[in-house]
Symmetry: C2
DNA sequence: ATATTAATGAACAATTTGTTCGGTAATGTA
DNA sequence: TACATTACCGAACAAATTGTTCATTAATAT
């Protein structure tokens, strides 16, 4: 990718983040974005078809990183604990959220959180799917598999929502404990 | 309220519902709404400050009705079953959703479902709050009350989401069973 | 019967969107 | 270094949308 393209894309994302922390997504105009990014109007449209596509790619880059980390750390953790528990993975995820990515959390707790939580959920779904077998023991037999999967995801999202709304006062360890407690 | 006002308001709501079933909220313009409602532009703005206020009042009227029914039926149910179980209330809510209000469900399952689920959640919160004591027995002692409340709400919303996504194939009885099963 | 209030419709400025195009400058490659 | 490619510029553009104004008409409540 051309360095100019990278720089422009970066500038757009930065301006976008900046605006997102101040106002609702719907209220943000392309004019504001390009003003903040200091680029021409035509340039914006040569990068992104619409504002919605910008959001989509933005979220993909944002969450792709954190969930890739989880995926990669998964084997490592299995190694350390030498057990089948899925707890380390979620603990690690909560830790990652609290410590390493204030950027992401600023967005998850912003006025646009529903927007980001939606995208977060999509990524979470993939992660949980690959760990579904680890929850099997807690599942009642009469529940449909897909209902059970949906419930795990909802519970995680609910836990995260509560933690964020609650200013993340609790430690990742405690939150992980709560998460498994209610499951 | 003046009959003309009522009629206009009704016409706006009807046109709005109509459009909501076809496209995303953000894509709907005031022009389309007034065209469908067959009223003048100035008239619309004399009723609603903005499109967002229209949505707000629309949701309030919509969900206010269903949750009021629940609230009123609550005593009745307690009477019939002569027990403290909260199950009848939620069963009744699922039944109400499936049978009596295709209008509401069309919206909850439309492209705008996130929008309506948000408002639904707000109303649900109030309902659950007044029944919190009935869930006490299932709660672990070390969980904060507010976390527990949040989890009940998330679980209900998750159940509802799954049910709607799943075209409501299951009976309200089964869904209620699932709901209490995972709780 | 009358005063009040709501709806009309047309016109209005202001904002925003998405596109076009010739010119300029940075970039990757040979 | 020289060259061809490609991204950016920026100004201008039509089209759509927003939200307001105002004089006129018609329905309503009492």
């Amino acid at each position: 990718m051309d360095r100019r393209q990278r720089k422009t894309r970066e500038a757009i994302f930065n301006s976008f983040t900046n605006l997102l922390s101040k106002k609702e997504f719907n209220q943000i105009t392309v004019g504001e974005i390009i003003e903040g990014a200091d680029i021409g109007r035509a340039t914006f449209y040569s990068h992104f078809e619409t504002k919605d596509f910008l959001l989509k790619e933005f979220c993909e880059e944002l969450f792709c990183h954190i969930f890739d980390t989880e995926k990669n750390s998964q084997n490592e953790h299995r190694h350390i604990f030498e057990c089948n528990s899925s707890e380390p993975i979620f603990l690690h995820l909560f830790k990652h959220l609290q410590q390493n990515d204030n950027n992401i959390l600023a967005l998850l707790s912003s006025q646009n959180n529903e927007l980001f939580l939606r995208y977060f959920r999509i990524n979470l779904e993939t992660l949980i799917e690959s760990h579904l077998s680890l929850f099997e023991s807690k599942k009642s037999d009469n529940l449909p598999d897909l209902f059970w999967k949906n419930h795990i995801i909802s519970t995680f999202m609910g836990t995260l929502k509560w933690w964020i709304d609650n200013k993340m006062k609790e430690s990742p360890e405690v939150i992980t404990e709560y998460f498994f407690e209610v499951l």
